[in-house]
Each structure stands twice: as structure tokens, then as C-alpha cells.
């Protein structure tokens, strides 16, 4: 039995993927692979093992990447693991196998399929995160808390939390990913906390607008109208730079 090929399946989270990679490694890299448990197709002649995400194990994997490769490689892998690419787990697994052979310079090896895939996934998530650092819109609620809702493709809340924690240090704020039910919650002057399992209702309950909110929304909206130059009108360019999917919660930009 131990000769058989084994696919380690895990939940779609960084902890899940790292744990599955650890288990697959233990089992033997030549006859194991890793995939997300949302990948539906089951194959014949392979064994499946469902892996429970384990924070302790994931941390070990993270430390190993950091120490044996580099902080930069770790960041690339981390962002790739937060991307919404279905086959990311296996690519990361194979990327790491190559990485531990080649060292930190593995990321220069772009001609390799797995390296290229991981770098691309990482750039993809990173680019969306960067876009959202601009496109997040906070609404001030009656308690003075700034609440933002986003619906990103990639799991970017962990990627942007620090940026906003620094920028809005003295504010209480929440950034909620309405699709994944996860949120970054920030109390003034504290570190942000990432919470899972936040329901849409519990966010909606916190979005009753403060008195000022309506006024500033209106001001912003008229600013957007008046800065545009009619003679250069170019809706398609606007659409390319800010596709509609970003605008779900940008009330002035719709």
C-alpha cells in the first residue's frame, strides 16, 4: 500500500496548504501531490488523504521556507497561497521541492513551469491587493467606526491589513471580504486581527451611516464628476483601469 500514489487534500487556506505540503513531504515527494479539497475531479488508481489544517505544522513549514530560502521567497509563496488559483497547492509544493534543491535563487528560474506559475499567482494576488489599497472605501458608521466591504477575487484581506493599520492608526476600522466571510478588524493603536466566519448580516448591522457620511459621499461624488475632462472622455480606459467588479462597494463610481 505504501507504494501507492497519494494526493493530500486540504482546505483553501495558507495553513491548510502548508500542512498538506508537510504531510506529503513526509509521505515521500516522488509519489505524492497536494490539492485543494474544492478540486472535484477524483482520479482512479490514486489514494486520497484529507488533511486537517494545523497551525503548528504550518508555522514549521513557514519557518523552514524563511530560514532555508529567504523572506522574499516566503512572501511570494504566501501571496500565491492567498491567490484564487485552483491548482496553486500543487504548484507551490513542486516549487518548494525545487526551491530546497536550488536555494533562494529559485525565483529567478522563470522558465520553469512551476516557478513561473507560483510567481504569476503571487503577482496576480499582489496586484489585486495593490489595487484595493486604493479602491477600499470606508464608510463611517454611527459609532464612528470605519467599515469597508470588498469582494476581491483573491484572499487579499491579509495582504492589505498592515497598510491600513499604519495609515489609519488612530481609527477603529473593519475591512470585510463579503464573499469569504473574513475580515480585518483594527482597534485604534493596536495590531489588526484577521477573523474568519464573519456573516454578511453582522457586517450589514454595522453599516448604519453617521450623519457626516452622507455629506462626504456627496462631496466625493461631485468631485469625481468635475475632475473629468470631457474632451478626453474615455470610458473604456476607465473600465480597463477600474473594472466594474471593483466597484460593488464604491458608491460614487458606479
Amino acid at each position: 500500500m505504501a507504494e501507492e500514489r497519494m494526493i493530500f487534500r486540504c482546505e483553501d487556506s495558507v495553513d491548510g496548504i502548508f500542512t498538506a505540503i508537510y504531510k506529503a513531504w513526509e509521505y515521500g515527494t516522488s509519489r505524492s501531490s497536494v490539492e485543494l479539497n474544492i478540486c472535484a475531479t477524483m482520479r482512479l488508481f490514486v489514494q486520497y488523504a484529507d488533511v486537517e489544517a494545523d497551525y503548528g505544522i504550518a508555522l514549521k513549514v513557514a519557518d523552514t521556507i524563511r530560514n532555508r530560502l529567504s523572506e522574499e521567497v516566503y512572501n511570494i509563496v504566501w501571496r500565491a497561497a492567498l491567490s484564487d488559483c485552483a491548482d496553486k497547492a500543487e504548484h507551490i509544493y513542486r516549487f518548494l521541492r525545487k526551491g530546497f534543491r536550488m536555494g533562494a535563487s529559485v525565483i529567478d528560474y522563470r522558465q520553469d513551469e512551476d516557478v513561473n506559475a507560483v510567481c504569476r499567482m503571487s503577482e496576480y494576488a499582489g496586484r489585486e491587493a495593490h489595487k484595493y489599497t486604493g479602491f477600499v472605501r470606508f464608510e463611517e458608521n454611527v459609532n464612528g467606526v470605519l467599515v469597508a466591504r470588498i469582494a476581491p477575487k483573491n484572499n487579499i484581506v491579509p495582504l492589505i491589513a498592515d497598510h491600513f493599520a499604519d495609515r489609519f492608526r488612530q481609527e477603529n476600522w473593519i475591512i470585510a471580504d463579503v464573499n469569504r466571510g473574513c475580515a480585518a478588524i483594527h482597534r485604534a493603536y493596536m495590531e489588526p486581527v484577521i477573523m474568519m466566519g464573519i456573516s454578511g448580516d453582522s457586517i450589514a448591522a454595522r453599516t448604519t451611516e453617521s450623519a457626516d457620511e452622507t455629506e462626504f459621499k456627496k462631496l466625493w461624488s461631485s468631485f469625481l464628476n468635475s475632475v473629468s475632462i470631457e474632451e478626453r472622455r474615455n470610458r473604456r480606459q476607465q473600465m480597463t483601469m477600474m473594472p466594474l467588479r471593483y466597484r460593488t462597494f464604491m458608491s460614487a463610481e458606479q
Partner: protein, 496 residues
């Protein structure tokens, strides 16, 4: 001219953002600054776009005029004194409120403040200084500030402003002194270049005093010789800055005796003068200059004034002024020309091109059909093809279809193995352009000839669609400068 007093904040914002929109720069890039712990805000060197207007431009700053009242009469400007438009003015408090409230909702990176000339250049610059000092000191605003230097304003105000603004800019307006005389009779080249020079001097003198977190930038500022200075010299300079700085704060009280500015205490000022540097802009197509003329002017500005950016603004005849190029029904705004100038600017700043390589007296204007890099390559076929596995970085950069990002990737990747055409695709090389100019391991991709007409034809096919889309911008897709946009957000935004 009367400034309307009874306007609501909403009305003022409409008027004063509308009047500011022709200033093209909306960049918030060039400085990294963490929250200082005393208030709101930080700054990101890469620049962040918060929205895109319906003309497709990045919006990152609250771009407004302090007032659209103006004693000058520049022909191209909507705010000129001879125009009959509603005039409004913000109070400094109103600007602070808008900036703070927009900022904390994440609408903007910061403030871009410009102004018509109200009373006198000095009076205008004083009001602008007052506003940004209030924003930094009383409101503890730590976001980005871009402030216009007003031509003709005295040195003291220019010296003061840069301690509160991240970026300073003085508009060149028109590429030549003659053009300026024609269209902006109240301004002169000298009045514009004087504050520009002063800002440069201040940046050089005070750019190498790096405190705290900024010290990581030593390498960069060594361009100015700062990093080589001994610790003693640095300490001495830093002392002199601090005392000079104290002097400036004293000045403010002189400016506004007992007024709002007496709140200035310690906090608020930058650790360096205009840390995001200086920029300028010029209007393209209102006067007769050739592209060659414009790029040489831009090059001189980069070299002699250490500018961070030169912005080009396609002329729009907003006043339907009959002495200026006519644009019936909004047609004829020289957008493709503007685009070519940005491409050339990019080549000069990041690709090591010199203006004389791109254009000359004999060939004074850019090719409408080909981008400047392709155009250059086709007239230098003796340098091609280039072998991907051997050519140095700068040679790679000169190949059409290879950008900064892909050239870097090639140089790294070929250490591991010999690269083929498939590998290049993964690195973001645009093969449909590059294929005429490169070999991989001694072989061309197809059986193409190194022949001027042949390659031109091949490339024009690729370019035609792009150019059509720029001219007919209503259907225009993507304003990418070159094809090397992968992984480098900045390259996406011409005006950022």
C-alpha cells in the same frame, strides 16, 4: 472680479476642482513614509490610484485650486481674468476638512493644491503655505501633499513650502520662452525658472539630511554627494537645518502676525525638503514647437533641474480662443502626440536614451505609426539581431518588446539555463515585436529578414490598432506605454 461669498462647500468644490482638472499630474509617488504616530496617514513610494475618472485618468489626490480668481490672463487657461466665470475661494479650514475626511474614507492619497493668482503671487503663496502648514500641524495630516510653486512668489515662501509639501512643482507652461510671451503675457521664463531653481537648491542642500527611517535612502541621495559626506559634516548640516528651520517657523509668525499660524509647534514639518522631489508640466500643441524641441527641453529639465517628472498636457482649447489651434467639437486634441512624448520621456528616464538618439533637426517629429523605440531600432538595424543569452542588460533594454521587467528576468534566468523563445514568453517579452530583433541560441524565431521595409511593415500591423485607438479614444482600450507592464503597476499610469 468678485469672489462669490455665499457658496456652499459643495459648490466651491465643484468650481475649484473643475478649474484644477487641466493640471495633469496626479501622482502620489516618490516618497515612503510611515505613520509618525501623531496623526493620520502615511505615503507609499509606488503611488496608489484611488479611482479613475471617466477620461480614464488615475485619481489619487484631491486636486483643487485654492481659488480660481486670477489677476493674470493666460490665453489657454479657463481661469484667466478676462473670462466671465463664477469665482470662488476655499478657506484653509475648508481644505483641511475636505482633505482629512476624504483621506480617512480612503478616497485619496492626499492633497494637490494649486491656485489662481489672488492679489499677488506672494499673497497667493502665503495662503497656500498657511493651508498646508495648518493641515500638517493642526490636523496632523501625514498623507501626501503636492504643492504648486507660484511664479513670482518670493524665495521665503518657496523655502517654507517644501518643508510641508512632499512634492513641489512649478509649471513651465510652454516649451519655449517665445510661446510663453505669446500666450501668458504676465509670466516670463525667468519668473518660472527662478522658483524652480530655488526648489532644486533646497532639495540638494537639505536632501541628504536623513533622519530615522529615511536613512535607508542614503544610496539614492548620494547622487547629490550627500552620502559621501562625513558624519561630522552631516551633523553640522543637520544642525544648520534645524536652526534654519527654526528660523522658518519664526518667519511664519512674521507672515501672519498672531494669526492661525502661531499653532505651528515642532511637529508637522518634513525631515527633508520636498522629499518626493520636483516636477513640472508643459502644454503640447498650443504653440509651434517640434517634438524634438520638446524632448530636448524635457531632457534639459531632468539634467539641469533634477526634476523627478516632466508632464505633458495635450492642449485643449477651453476658451475657444481664435488665436489658438481650433478644435471643433472637441476633435483635434493632440493625444497621440502626447502619448509619443510620454513614451520618449520614459525611454530617457529608464532606458538610457538621449534625446538626440530619438529625434534630430532633420527628423523633428515622432513617427505617428511607430512608437519611438521601434522607430529607433528600425533605423539602427546594424545593431541587431541581439542574442538573448549573451547581450548585456542595457542592450536587451533597447530591443522593442523587451521592457525593464522582462530584461531583468532574462538576465537572472539565463544563469540557470539557455533560454528559448517559449521561455521569453513566460518572462513577459512581447514576441510579436521582439522577434525581428533577437536570436535565441543563434536562431531567429521565424525566417525573418533584417530589412528596414520588411520589419516596418510587420511592426506597423501591430501598432496600427494601438494608434487608431489613441486617436479615437472613445473606443480606446489600454493606455499602456509599452508592453512591459507586467508586475510593475507604475507603468500602467501615464499621469501617475
Amino acid at each position: 472680479m468678485v469672489i462669490q461669498e455665499q457658496l456652499s462647500l459643495q459648490q466651491k468644490l465643484e468650481i475649484l476642482s473643475d478649474a484644477a482638472k487641466y493640471d495633469v499630474a496626479c501622482t502620489s509617488s516618490g516618497v515612503d513614509r510611515r505613520n509618525n504616530g501623531m496623526g493620520i496617514g502615511n505615503a507609499a513610494a509606488c503611488g496608489i490610484c484611488h479611482s479613475f475618472s471617466s477620461d480614464g485618468r488615475c485619481i489619487s489626490l484631491l486636486k483643487i485650486l485654492l481659488t480660481n480668481e486670477c489677476i493674470y490672463d493666460c490665453r489657454y487657461c479657463i481661469n484667466r481674468s478676462s473670462n466671465d466665470v463664477v469665482r470662488a475661494a476655499f478657506t484653509p479650514e475648508e481644505i483641511c476638512t475636505l482633505t482629512m475626511q476624504f483621506y480617512r474614507r480612503n478616497y485619496i492619497e492626499g492633497l494637490f493644491l494649486s491656485s489662481g493668482i489672488i492679489g499677488s503671487p506672494d499673497n497667493t503663496m502665503r495662503l497656500m503655505c498657511e493651508t498646508v502648514i495648518m493641515l500638517r500641524s493642526r490636523y496632523n495630516f501625514g498623507g501626501y501633499i503636492h504643492l504648486k510653486g507660484i511664479p513670482g512668489a518670493s524665495q521665503d515662501y518657496i523655502d517654507l513650502a517644501g518643508w510641508y509639501a512632499d512634492r513641489m512643482s512649478v509649471n513651465l507652461e510652454l516649451p519655449t520662452a517665445d510661446g510663453l510671451k505669446q500666450l501668458a503675457p504676465h509670466k516670463s521664463r525667468k519668473k518660472i525658472l527662478t522658483p524652480m531653481r530655488r526648489i532644486q537648491k533646497q532639495i540638494i542642500a537639505n536632501g541628504n539630511i536623513l533622519l530615522g527611517e529615511d536613512s535607508a535612502h542614503y544610496g539614492k541621495t548620494s547622487l547629490y554627494g550627500g552620502a559621501e559626506a562625513s558624519a561630522d559634516v552631516r551633523a553640522e548640516m543637520s544642525d544648520s537645518i534645524l536652526s534654519e528651520h527654526g528660523g522658518m517657523l519664526h518667519n511664519i509668525n512674521d507672515i501672519s502676525p498672531g494669526g492661525a499660524l502661531s499653532v505651528v509647534k515642532g511637529r508637522g514639518a518634513n525631515t527633508r525638503y520636498a522629499p518626493a522631489g520636483q516636477s513640472t508640466q508643459m502644454i503640447i500643441g498650443a504653440t509651434e514647437e517640434s517634438d524634438y524641441h520638446i524632448v530636448t527641453v524635457a531632457e534639459a529639465l531632468y539634467q539641469k533641474f533634477d526634476l523627478k517628472r516632466v508632464f505633458y498636457s495635450a492642449f485643449i482649447n477651453v476658451n475657444h480662443d481664435s488665436s489658438l489651434p481650433a478644435q471643433h467639437d472637441g476633435e483635434g486634441v493632440p493625444l497621440l502626440r502626447e502619448h509619443r512624448l510620454y513614451q520618449a520621456d520614459w525611454l530617457m528616464r529608464y532606458y538610457g536614451f538621449k534625446s538626440y538618439e530619438l529625434l534630430s533637426e532633420q527628423k523633428p517629429n515622432f513617427n505617428v505609426l511607430l512608437d519611438p523605440k521601434c522607430d529607433w531600432a528600425i533605423s539602427h538595424l546594424e545593431l541587431f539581431p541581439v542574442e538573448i543569452n549573451r547581450a548585456d542588460y542595457y542592450t536587451l533594454l533597447r530591443v522593442p518588446g523587451i521592457g525593464v521587467t522582462s530584461a531583468r528576468r532574462i538576465v537572472k534566468a539565463r544563469r540557470c539555463a539557455i533560454l528559448g523563445f517559449d521561455d521569453l514568453k513566460k518572462m513577459g517579452v512581447v514576441l510579436k515585436r521582439a522577434l525581428y530583433f533577437i536570436t535565441c541560441n543563434g536562431r531567429m524565431m521565424y525566417n525573418t529578414r533584417i530589412d528596414e521595409d520588411y520589419i516596418t511593415n510587420g511592426l506597423i500591423g501591430v501598432e496600427k490598432l494601438n494608434n487608431y485607438q489613441i486617436e479615437h479614444h472613445h473606443s480606446y482600450r489600454q493606455l499602456s506605454l509599452f508592453d512591459d507592464t507586467i508586475g510593475d503597476v507604475k507603468l500602467w499610469q501615464k499621469n501617475a
